[in-house]
């Protein structure tokens, strides 16, 4: 298999493409297992036999639960540990996300997502309201991996823009869903400026979300609470 990786050295502005030849063990192999196999070799060599630096990428769970390993695979945002090599067209091209500053190789700095949630005040001052009725939405929105795939494809998101995208909206859906009336006043405003007003509702984000979060449903619920001012009665 021909694997092309867009690389960048730490602290450098220059990127370069490096090509590797790789034979998968079997059809279960993912991008992550391939990168680990390449990096696990005594000496890593590119397709021309030149020695190469180990490939930097982020990982943790290797089970598509933590969002660490998000990158572009053949131009599409994906989790490396959830992307089977056999499902990808050759040559497989791996690139870091383009909307975030690159740290090294496939590793980018996604701290903007945290910063935005801090700005949104995504927390409760008072007790959260939990009930059987509210739980489905809370569960769904709490599943967000903070992987950033949605931001990568969103036409309206940029670092520094007032629109925070779905990586902000999903965790915030739980907050809206469980917040008491008093606190909601400010949270509504936040949702309107940070999500509702900036979103073009094309839902490209939904198609790439690796957790398959029901983004549409979450937005409907949040809009009802924040924009149409409906209260959930337990």
């Amino acid at each position: 298999m021909r694997i092309e990786i867009l690389r960048r050295d730490r602290g450098s502005d220059v990127c370069y493409l490096q090509v590797f030849e790789y034979t998968p063990e079997d059809e279960r192999e993912t991008i992550a297992s391939m990168l680990d196999h390449l990096n696990g070799q005594e000496e890593l060599k590119d397709i021309e036999g030149n020695s190469a630096r180990k490939i930097t990428y982020k990982k943790s769970c290797l089970q598509k639960k933590c969002g660490a390993c998000a990158m572009l695979a053949n131009g599409r945002p994906a989790l490396a540990c959830a992307s089977k090599l056999c499902d990808l067209e050759e040559p497989i091209r791996l690139e870091p996300f383009k909307k975030f500053p690159v740290v090294e190789d496939l590793c980018v700095d996604r701290s903007i997502m945290k910063e935005n949630l801090r700005q949104m005040k995504a927390w409760f001052e008072d007790e959260a309201l939990v009930s059987e009725k509210r739980n489905a939405v809370s569960y769904e929105s709490s599943r967000c991996l903070q992987c950033g795939c949605c931001l990568e494809v969103c036409p309206n998101f940029m670092i520094g823009s007032s629109f925070f995208g779905m990586a902000g909206a999903m965790p915030f859906s739980r907050i809206l869903n469980e917040m008491n009336k008093e606190e909601l006043k400010e949270a509504r405003k936040t949702y309107n400026t940070r999500v509702f007003e900036g979103c073009g509702k094309s839902l490209s984000c939904r198609d790439v979300c690796p957790a398959k979060i029901k983004i549409g449903d979450m937005l409907v619920n949040s809009n009802a609470i924040a924009v149409w001012k409906r209260y959930i009665k337990d």
Partner: protein, 519 residues
């Protein structure tokens, strides 16, 4: 400043507890909290809420925990844990964790080794749900300046001078710059998964390197031989994937084929507990069947008979996962499982207050040895991590100052992949599900042979690995997760804590377990 290494449940719980008292803390974590192993937990969290009309109570939780741990846990610590558990779950509810409910009542499920339905859960994503809620809560204090989070920073080593912890040295993994953070340290950096690379169900971030560094600097470790193999894992490339105990809790049955016929061996071997025997018992039984020539060499989990609603309501994530990674619909077909390493009962030797033997150094969560004795019950470690983080934080009553100092000529070596693989293979050979003196000794010899041309990080790791083997060697009995086929009995003389210490050489001793204070 209190410095906390790790942003899993233990780390977050410690930081939030401190922040609520107005005490500042730093969280140093190799990745964001969303990546911590705690998000992977599936099955649930234990607390005697008694919502299922079974007359459950705190004492039964206490008893089950001690018994499950084959009486190696500190009874006073376990009592504290069981007593606080209902309050902890109620606090989680206030933070908005969407526990499975009927109206406003939390529903609880069965888990191995428990008399009653005592496990609160959210589908098969309990850890993720708990973490999402704690992350939101921690954010509040972050914005207020009470918690400072150093993501993408690795705690490279602790600074210990004259038996007191003076802080830690961390490395910014984005810039490779080192810093020293002054002040006391709460270790919450997770279990020792990195010693068994590729064979555990957990996160690759839990390298155990910080634990190894601490051990070499004189921090004592306990019960290192107690490694929990989970009976139901699936081998996916590069790691083991857990099939949560909820599968059995909801009625899943172990099965193999004997003479071409379905054989539900666990129900025959253990007619009382059947498929809900504790993990150690289940793992040994599965290993036996895997090696039994009369069976087909595989063990399966059979869930075909379960109600459709159970899959929808409680096991939807699990069903999808197995379909993804094994191509099997668990509602329609039995699927292959085998035991994999899942939890480390052993770790830093701490007392009830989560103090280590070094002043100003505390440990909580899976990196510490507390509550679980020789075998952890499912659902008790999420609880133990949250409670442990709290207890560790309770040692602080006033806000402390502490600087962050940039370091210039600090160095840090990487553990090579080859060394990691070798270490893993050796440790697996000595610390398998079924052990004996000979294989443990062989493994120690192999480790000694490996001990040349290593960089300091690798050497440190090797020493802690050897301490695990030595602990398993010295415990000449079988208890909980530690099964010695050459000494299959449980012996009163080993009703003690295995304590490993390092001072130029490894020293293993058996220390008394504290007496229970109240009755």
């Amino acid at each position: 400043m209190v410095n906390i290494t790790g942003s899993g449940l233990a780390g977050l719980s410690a930081a939030i507890t401190l922040a609520r008292k107005g005490i500042h803390s730093n969280i140093i974590s190799v990745q964001e909290a969303q990546r911590a192993q705690s998000i992977m937990a599936e099955g649930g969290i234990n607390a005697a809420l008694n919502t299922m009309g079974e007359n459950d109570d705190v004492f039964k939780h206490y008893e089950d925990t001690l018994k499950g741990g084959a009486y190696l846990a500190d009874p006073n610590a376990v009592e504290g844990l069981a007593k606080q558990a209902p309050q902890i779950v109620n606090e989680l509810l206030k933070l908005g964790v969407p526990f499975e409910m009927e109206g406003k009542k939390i529903i609880q499920r069965n888990f191995g080794g428990q008399k009653n339905k005592r496990t609160a859960y959210v589908k098969s994503s309990t850890g993720k749900m708990l973490m999402s809620a704690l992350i939101d809560e921690a954010r509040k204090y972050e914005v207020r300046g009470l918690i400072k989070v150093y993501d993408h920073h690795k705690a490279a080593e602790v600074v210990i001078e004259d038996g007191t912890c003076k802080g830690l040295i961390m490395k910014d993994q984005y810039t490779n710059q080192f810093y020293k953070l002054e002040g006391p340290v709460i270790l919450a950096s997770g279990g020792l998964g990195g010693f068994f690379q590729g064979y555990t169900t957990g996160s690759s971030d839990n390298t155990g390197e910080l634990s190894a560094d601490c051990f070499m600097k004189g921090v004592k470790m306990a019960n290192l031989e107690m490694i929990q193999y989970h009976p139901t894992t699936i081998d996916i490339i590069g790691k083991r994937m857990l099939v949560s105990e909820a599968a059995r809790g909801e009625g899943g049955r172990f099965m193999t084929y004997k003479d071409g016929k379905e054989y539900y061996f666990m129900e025959e071997m253990y007619p009382k507990e059947k498929n809900l025997v504790t993990r150690d018992v289940a793992s040994r039984a599965v290993t036996k069947i895997l090696n039994d020539k009369e069976c087909d060499g595989n063990v399966y989990l059979d869930m075909r008979h379960l109600d459709k609603k159970v899959f929808e309501r409680k096991l939807s994530d699990m069903r999808e996962e197995v379909l993804d990674y094994q191509g099997i619909d668990i509602a329609k077909q039995p699927f292959k499982i085998s035991p994999g390493i899942h939890y480390f009962m052993g770790g830093f030797y701490v007392n009830e207050k989560h103090e280590t033997n070094i002043e100003n150094l505390y440990a909580a969560g899976e990196c510490a040895c507390q509550y679980h004795g020789a075998n952890r019950l499912g659902g008790n470690s999420l609880l133990g991590a949250i409670y442990g983080g709290k207890k560790a934080a309770e040692n602080f009553t006033e806000d402390l100052s502490g600087k962050c100092i940039e370091l210039t000529d600090q160095e840090d070596a990487d553990v090579s992949p080859l060394f990691s693989r070798q270490l893993t293979q050796i440790l697996l050979s000595g610390l398998g599900i079924i052990r004996n003196e000979e294989t443990i000794k062989e493994a120690i010899v192999k480790l000694d042979e490996l001990d040349h041309d290593l960089n300091p990080k690798e050497h440190t790791k090797l020493i802690l690995g050897k301490a695990m083997l030595r602990s398993a060697l010295e415990r000449k009995e079988s208890r909980g997760a530690h099964y010695r086929e050459d000494c299959p009995e449980t012996l009163e003389e080993f009703h003690k804590t295995t304590v490993a210490a390092y001072d130029k050489d490894i020293d293993i001793r058996f220390e008394d377990i504290p007496e229970r204070r109240s009755a």
